[in-house]
């Protein structure tokens, strides 16, 4: 990928500086550039290309998403909550290992992210989900959480634009999400694993349908159709997966008005008069600082880094005191067993089907918010024999070898992800002791899962287990959940949008309430989690909307 630079130095005066080249920043940069605006897109992480990914090497299963210098941010965790025996059925176990967790406190483990051009879309599986129309009115519907300051209809045209930019493959329609046109490519044919689960779901009276995902099922805009290697989380060497680098960033570069600078970090935004940001200080990888004077700044560093940067800059845009609050995380569980018949669990698009039946705020009695159930294969890497040998086949010796030969391809797994309501015990703050190389405090992630979250997770996990059993899997061999360990892929809500400047950080267009030329377009602005669906398409739709509004502001139309 060319980065559109002709000079290693950033231009001093530009229209818009976009900070963060993940889902939101890339989409905003492309849209802005397409409007004729000059854009500089920086990211603290590196650029990746096909040669970085190791899905075609002999020991591919020992690989994962590649680590490169600066491709991970620094953060620390607060203490994990003590376990409550009433939720023991959500604890981790592995029958192949003869192990059930005996920990006393939740492990604060991982924040799964990638810093770099494309951000975490580089390693995601690629659900392309719109939020349900009701998800925009969570508080009105449940009395909990927050309503959005905009509705589904406001976002629908932008959803359409995103889906057609990235080449989504999906079914003709999805309940609760009226579409102005179909997805650009048809849904992927479900794998055998998905077909087995669909039969189980049908026996329980549940629907199980094709999922919408970011990899096209037909060649699309110069990208090939997915060939079902299943290794989306290793990084897609073919470029068929619609990660932000091969879609929005590539399109932004094509305009000739966007320059992309990997390995460049924001160090400071300086406040000017008239509630405007007057200057940005950006550091290159070698630590050289450069001042630039953008007319507007779009912050899109993600739900951890965006509040961290704002808080570290003396609480910029934190007039409400809500920056870093309302952190929402991925509340999930997975359950895996072996089916008596081969299901080819290593073949097909991972998570190519989905159960939408609980995608509503009253899905589980006594809990607010809904969730989704999907097949599980890639997420726990049941794509090759090594993971089977370690995690699903008990024992050792020739018997183990024989059993592995018999059972390879028989893994059946289900996973549940559900809504996560904001909680005062969950937020992002600044570390008291640790700083980055520029002397700015790193982020501290605090997380507690209250009973309301666990009630919802418990109810949905029970449904998922019923589907598994009805599919022909009698015994769950392995289980894990976010109750045992903070291990989050979707994080959101830390610079929430809202109408009230006293309780939110940005308005419905992503503009900070006070600073006229400071905008935010990443997961941090989301007021709710859409019942656990994939966030990237919604982040990108919001980013396009923000970009349109920003251009209108530049033209004096707002």
């Amino acid at each position: 990928m060319g980065d559109g630079r002709s000079d290693p130095m950033l231009p001093e005066e530009i229209d818009v500086l976009v900070i963060g080249a993940g889902a939101g920043g890339a989409a905003a940069a492309q849209r802005l550039a397409s409007h004729g605006v000059s854009v500089v897109l920086i990211d603290a992480g590196p650029a990746f290309d096909a040669s970085d990914y190791s899905v075609d090497v002999s020991d591919w299963e020992n690989q994962g998403f590649p680590s490169k210098p600066s491709s991970q941010g620094s953060y620390e965790f607060g203490a994990g909550q003590a376990f409550d025996p009433k939720w023991d059925h959500l604890r981790k176990f592995s029958k192949a290992r003869g192990w059930t967790s005996t920990r006393t406190h939740r492990v604060m483990g991982d924040y799964h992210h990638v810093r770099g051009i494309g951000g975490t879309t580089l390693k995601f599986t690629g659900w392309a989900h719109r939020f349900h129309t009701d998800s925009f009115r969570l508080r009105s519907n449940t009395g909990q959480g927050f309503d959005w300051p905009l509705g589904y209809d406001d976002l629908e045209p932008y959803y359409h634009d995103v889906e057609w930019m990235i080449g989504v493959a999906g079914p003709p329609g999805i309940s609760g999400r009226p579409m102005s046109s179909s997805f650009p490519t048809p849904a992927h044919t479900p794998s055998r694993l998905s077909q087995v689960l669909a039969r189980g779901a049908a026996r329980r009276g549940l629907s199980w349908t094709e999922n919408s995902v970011v990899a096209p099922s037909r060649a699309y805009r110069g990208r090939p159709a997915c060939n079902y290697c299943g290794c989306c989380q290793w990084g897609c060497p073919r470029g068929d997966k619609g990660s932000a680098d091969v879609t929005f960033v590539a399109a932004a570069l094509e305009t000739g008005r966007c320059k992309v600078y990997p390995l460049h970090s924001l160090v400071r935004l300086e406040r000017g008069g008239d509630d405007m940001i007057s200057k940005a200080v950006v550091a290159s990888q070698d630590g050289q600082l450069q001042d630039i004077k953008p007319r507007h700044v779009v912050l899109a560093a993600g739900a951890i880094e965006t509040p961290r940067l704002l808080l570290a800059m003396d609480g910029l845009a934190n007039e409400s005191g809500r920056v870093g609050h309302h952190l929402m995380e991925t509340v999930w569980s997975y359950h895996t067993g072996l089916h008596p018949d081969p299901v080819g669990s290593h073949r097909g698009y991972p998570e190519d089907t989905i159960c939408w039946d609980f995608d509503r705020p009253d899905a589980i009695h006594g809990a607010a918010g809904g969730g989704i159930i999907l097949p599980l294969a890639a997420t726990e890497r049941f794509l090759g024999p090594a993971s089977y040998a370690r995690k699903l086949i008990k024992g050792f010796g020739s018997d183990h070898k024989k059993r592995l030969r018999e059972m390879f391809g028989h893994a059946v797994g289900v996973q549940v992800i559900c809504e996560n309501l904001p909680s005062e015990g969950r937020y992002v703050a600044l570390s008291d002791t640790l700083t980055d190389r520029f002397g700015m405090p790193i982020a501290r992630i605090e997380s507690v899962l209250p009973d309301a979250d666990l009630r919802l997770l418990s109810g949905l996990a029970g449904m998922a287990l019923e589907v598994m059993k009805a599919s022909g899997v009698d015994e769950v061999l392995e289980q894990a959940s976010s109750y045992e360990k903070f291990s989050s892929t979707h994080l959101a809500g830390t610079c929430m949008m809202g109408k009230d400047s006293e309780t939110s950080v940005v308005n419905e267009f992503g503009r900070t309430h006070r600073w006229k030329n400071l905008w935010i377009t990443d997961a941090s602005v989301l007021p709710s989690m859409g019942n656990g669906v994939g966030l990237s398409v919604t982040i990108q739709a919001l980013a396009l909307r923000t970009a349109d509004r920003l251009v209108a502001a530049m033209r004096g139309d707002d």
Partner: protein, 178 residues
């Protein structure tokens, strides 16, 4: 062998001093040689125990080579040496395995070795033996099977790319119909 008189004479003849070895030096050298031999024996003993352990986990049989056939011994040892606790657990487990086998785990029959490793597997998550067993098992399985050649024997043809896994599209009959 030199005498004390010889030593006295040699002190007067510097050029000859380099030609002879004193008893003390000879003793030191002899002791070092014994230590080296003993260390070699211990290292060889430890290595043979570890090799026997790994080949009990993944033996050579009609399904393929053993763990040591493909050189996993050094990989597992290096993995252990990177983590102090894992290293100590693995060392202690090997001492225990040898004691259980009556002196030499490597010299025990296959049935006896299987019995001893089964005891490790059943010893419970808090025990050193269980931790050593799962440490070795996890890494053995990972390195052994994360290899396209051995995976091929399981019907998995090479790494996932560049060919992918095209799947016949005929089986899907529609949402929820199964």
């Amino acid at each position: 062998m030199s005498t004390s008189n010889d030593n006295q004479r040699h002190r007067d003849v510097p050029s000859a001093r380099r030609s002879y070895i004193s008893r003390r030096k000879l003793f030191v050298l002899g002791f070092m040689a014994m230590c080296a031999a003993f260390a070699g024996f211990v290292l060889s003993y430890r290595r043979s125990t570890l090799e026997a352990f790994l080949d009990t986990l993944i033996p050579r049989d009609e399904f393929g080579p053993s763990a040591t056939d493909i050189g996993l011994t050094d990989i597992i040892r290096q993995k252990a040496e990177r983590n102090h606790w894992r290293f100590v657990e693995l060392e202690l487990a090997q001492v225990w395995m040898n004691l259980k086998a009556g002196g030499s785990f490597a010299g025990a029959s296959e049935a006896r070795r299987n019995e001893i490793v089964s005891q490790m597997e059943a010893s419970g998550p808090d025990s050193v033996l269980w931790k050593a067993y799962h440490f070795a098992r996890t890494h053995c399985m990972t390195y052994y099977y994360a290899n396209a050649e051995r995976a091929t024997a399981l019907g998995f043809v090479g790494p996932p790319q560049p060919d992918g896994h095209e799947e016949p599209a005929a089986l899907w009959t529609g949402a929820a119909n199964g």
